[in-house]
């Protein structure tokens, strides 16, 4: 497949106190429509990525909000945990490929700062198994267990991994949409308080508010939007693994990413070595390390080395760490950020990888500039 993306839009992620769900939907949707120079009546349907509006804002039917604010009919809500945005892209692509739609919008919104930190932490436990959250586990504690095993198996120290969030921060300095646009030195990360040993506070991406959108169209009508095309979606794959760490074959590999990557490279007919840029799910340093190994860029145990040698290719937006993780919009933000940097640097192929929870689901999308 080769699905043209004719519009992209972002709002700056962060503490958006003044904006509610309706405001974000309106802002991000109108920005995308303007970007494509098309009207809402031209959009055949919209896939909406949002996880917690029903709990946080007491509103579960965001398709109705989208209709109210943007006038777009046929809204479908997509829930796939932290990877909802990436899943919404996949669904939108399917609606185009099937011939059902000519123009589809993908829109992600989330208002996590309407809750307190511990409440958000508890909600994120929806993305791990009930048996784990029952005993007091969180997404972060489970990543900590994975980190401990990884550094034990490969003879590393926890401080060896802090270059990852540090370099992601550096990348975000020039990103006007990133939540945090300052340097974060490794020493500062290593001195920050322990969150769940051995992971420290400054290792982790923060939850925030955000919105992101893109519009795709069928290849048949692409000529109409030739000047608007931001890039193409070549392939999208999703795979699953057990929710609980106790049922996985390994806790130093995320099988859902392994499976999704195999499928997506096969589908797009390109190889890992062809990838010029990537936006990798870096909620914690370990998730970025395992991703580059599981996608096939590096052998098991060599993830940190690969990342060090390829800092100029990974998470140039700043990743979740510096942009913030807004759950619903994140997978879409990764795509938007990737496409803009492929264009600016005139590079060919890019890849986004988005997890849900600790890897119960992984979505890998491959894009091209032309």
């Amino acid at each position: 497949m080769k699905i043209p993306i004719i519009a992209t839009s972002l709002v700056k992620f962060g503490d958006l106190w003044n904006k509610g769900i309706n405001d974000l939907v309106k802002e991000i949707g109108q920005k995308a429509l303007k970007d494509a120079n098309t009207g809402s009546s031209d959009v055949d349907s919209i896939y909406i990525a949002n996880e917690f509006s029903s709990i946080i804002n007491g509103m579960s039917s965001l398709n109705s909000v989208v209709f109210e604010e943007l006038g777009i009919d046929n809204g479908i809500c997509v829930n796939t945990g932290d990877a909802s945005g990436a899943a919404a892209i996949k669904e939108a692509a399917a609606s185009i490929l099937s011939g059902q739609n000519e123009i589809t919008m993908v829109l992600g919104v989330e208002k996590l700062t309407d809750l307190k930190t511990d409440e958000v932490l508890s909600l994120s436990s929806n993305f791990i198994s009930q048996e784990e959250s029952f005993v007091g586990a969180t997404v972060h504690s489970q990543f900590a267990i994975m980190t401990k095993k990884y550094i034990s198996d490969f003879h590393l120290s926890p401080n060896d991994l802090s270059f990852i969030p540090s370099s992601n921060h550096k990348n975000a300095i020039n990103n006007e949409y990133a939540q945090y646009r300052f340097e974060l030195a490794e020493e500062k990360i290593n001195a920050s308080q322990l969150f769940a040993d051995p992971i420290r506070m400054f290792d982790l991406a923060s939850y925030c508010d955000g919105a992101a959108a893109l519009i795709m169209c069928s290849e048949e009508i692409a000529a109409k939007f030739s000047k608007k095309i931001k890039g193409y979606l070549l392939a999208s794959s999703i795979a699953s693994d057990s929710l609980s760490l106790s049922r996985r074959n390994s806790i130093t590999a995320i099988e859902s990413t392994i499976k999704a990557s195999e499928m997506v490279f096969k589908e797009s007919r390109i190889n890992a070595s062809d990838i010029d840029l990537m936006e990798i799910y870096d909620i914690a340093p370990i998730s970025e390390i395992l991703a580059v190994e599981d996608i096939g860029f590096a052998k098991k145990g060599h993830g940190p080395d690969f990342i060090r040698k390829n800092l100029g290719k990974i998470n140039l937006s700043g990743g979740l760490k510096a942009c913030g993780h807004a759950i619903g919009p994140t997978g879409i933000r990764q795509a938007v950020d990737l496409l803009s940097r492929l264009r600016i640097r005139k590079l060919k192929y890019g890849l986004t990888q988005t997890l849900s929870g600790t890897g119960s689901c992984s979505i890998v999308n491959i894009f091209s500039r032309d």
């Binding site: 511990d118 508890s122 007091g136 969180t138 267990i145 980190t147």
Partner: protein, 103 residues
Amino acid sequence: MHKTSSPLSWRNSRNHYKLAGNIDLKGIIESFTIVRNAPKGFERQTPYVLALILLSNGMKVVSQIVDSDKIEIGMKVEPCIRRIYVDGNSGLINYGTKFRVTK
């Protein structure tokens, strides 16, 4: 953990009691963490140890480790029954299996 419902709590306890009441069951710690930022309901328990444990029956389980300060990967453990989560002042007391280090 949100408010526990009776049916949910009852179903959960089946599995936990099987582990806690098994005097022959043993385990080995595969990996662990020390949770210092807890989800709702667990705040007063921090710091607590969460571990991935390989059981002698071949299964694995994620559980808290109690009564020990020094935890290392590879330590042997055995199950015990403990309070997991108390649902406020009027809700249920949820019991479950935790593990402690054996000599």
